[in-house]
């Protein structure tokens, strides 16, 4: 279908494809990603608890996790999750739901280093997303520094694309 030139996209969405997304869509995607990370942490915590229970059922108690450790774990999970998602498919789950894709200054998918750098930057300064509303080009702080873009791309086949050459 794609090669023949017939677009499966809804007619009203076609003009927006390839445009940089605005604050609301990206905010919703980021919130979904946050939920995903939180869910992953919960699952990890539950798995850790189950493992402890299996090891020593008599002395079992829920593990006490410090705030520092929790934040470090959350940071790590978030960075890994975003890096892998942007590197392999160009989109995280939040981006998938909202029809977004992260591309570099050439419009191509991010390399591993770029994806890692952007993930770290987003994890450290999440408030940089707000700059999208102010920027005339709908760019966040991370986008401006790393010369990336988050575009509307509702095409579902994009998620099954092969990995980019040479990260």
């Amino acid at each position: 279908m794609t090669e023949s030139g017939v677009s499966p996209l809804p007619r009203e969405a076609r003009p927006y494809q390839g445009q940089r997304a605005g604050l609301v869509t990206r905010g919703v995607a980021a919130a979904i990603d946050g939920l995903v990370v939180g869910l992953a942490l919960l699952i990890g915590y539950a798995a850790w608890a189950v493992l402890l229970f299996l090891v020593d059922p008599l002395n079992f108690s829920f593990p006490d996790v410090s705030l520092i450790f929790s934040m470090a774990a959350a940071f790590l999970v978030l960075v890994v999750y975003l890096t892998l998602a942007w590197w392999l498919s160009g989109r995280s789950y939040g981006c998938l739901v909202m029809g977004l894709r992260v591309v570099n200054y050439r419009g191509a998918r991010l390399g591993l280093v770029s994806a890692l750098a952007r993930a770290v930057f987003c994890a450290i300064v999440p408030i940089g997303l707000v700059w999208v509303a102010v920027s005339r080009g709908n760019r966040s702080l991370q986008d401006m520094v790393l010369r990336t873009s988050v575009i509307y791309d509702w095409q579902p086949q994009g998620a099954s694309k092969s990995a980019p050459p040479g990260a």
Partner: protein, 310 residues
């Protein structure tokens, strides 16, 4: 002012007075002397044969005879002389000019009974003596034609009667139609044709069905058409993806689509609001760079409706 005296006038006037006086005198004398003359001519005593009147009567008869013979002689001489003189005169006098100047031709013509004259004409013999070819050669046909009111003439012609009398078959048999047709400007004639009215009278459908090899025609048409491109345009026109989505789509995909569209609308609303707060004018430049390789953004791989139409 002294009047000039002409000698000729004097002579004429004098002669006229003498003659008149003599005539009066003679008249008076005749009136007075008539009784005397009668007596002298018819003396009472003299016998009739010897009377002077008888002698005078004989002299008068001789005089009359002489006069008659003289008149005849004069007529003979005049018959000879007049034609000669007249010919000489006419040679020197321009008779046409004289006639035109002194004769009232209109009056003369008005007095002529032309009908009677025409009735006496033998037209057949006149026509037979005319060299029509020579006459025709001397006629300026163009000038004549220019002066003819053809419309008026044609209106008076009974075309039907003429056509009835024409043997069309014989006429057509004499015409070399090939040479005529070769001289006709068919292009000009075709330009004046009302093609629509001709087509209205033709049953084109039956003509095509009978005369046209439809299979060859259809094959030729198909060879010229890019069916794939045509199918794409048709699918694009009927929005096939939309139909498929409507027929097979789930509630979830519709929800996702709605959320995404609302997100786009909200993005634009936020952008406009911020631009208004910052007193910006014009639209945002949100077009991202396009990836020309396989590894793509949407713009190059998924052309929009406008792109494909453009």
């Amino acid at each position: 002012m002294r009047q000039r005296i002409s000698p000729v006038d004097v002579v004429v006037g004098t002669t006229w007075r003498v003659v008149r006086a003599a005539a009066r005198t003679a008249h008076t004398a005749g009136s007075v002397l008539e009784p005397v003359t009668q007596v002298l001519l018819h003396p009472p005593i003299v016998p009739m044969q010897l009377q002077p009147a008888g002698w005078l009567a004989a002299v008068a008869r001789d005089g009359a005879d002489q006069r008659a013979s003289l008149r005849e002689e004069l007529a003979r001489r005049l018959d000879v002389l007049v034609p000669v003189v007249l010919a000489e005169v006419l040679q020197r006098a321009h008779l046409t000019d004289l006639v035109l100047e002194y004769v009232d031709l209109d009056r003369v013509v008005g007095a002529v009974d032309l009908d009677a004259a025409a009735a006496r004409l033998d037209v057949e013999s006149v026509v037979g003596r005319v060299d029509l070819d020579a006459v025709a050669r001397r006629i300026d046909v163009d000038a004549v034609a220019a002066r003819i009111d053809l419309d008026k003439v044609v209106r008076r012609v009974d075309v039907d009667a003429i056509v009835d009398r024409v043997d069309a078959e014989a006429v057509v048999g004499k015409v070399d139609l090939d040479s005529i047709v070769s001289r006709v400007d068919l292009d000009a004639a075709a330009r004046r044709l009302d093609i629509d009215s001709v087509l209205d009278r033709l049953d084109l459908t039956s003509v095509v069905l009978e005369r046209v090899d439809l299979e060859v025609l259809v094959q030729a048409v198909l060879d010229r058409i890019d069916l794939i491109k045509l199918a794409e345009e048709v699918i694009d026109g009927v929005d096939l993806p939309e139909i498929i989505r409507e027929s097979t789509g789930s509630m979830a995909s519709d929800t996702v689509r709605g959320v995404r569209m609302q997100g786009i609308v909200a993005d634009e609303a936020v952008g406009r609001a911020v631009d208004r707060l910052l007193l910006r004018r014009g639209r945002r430049a949100t077009q991202a760079p396009a990836d020309n390789q396989d590894d793509r953004p949407a713009e190059s791989t998924f052309p929009t409706q406008r792109d494909r139409r453009g």
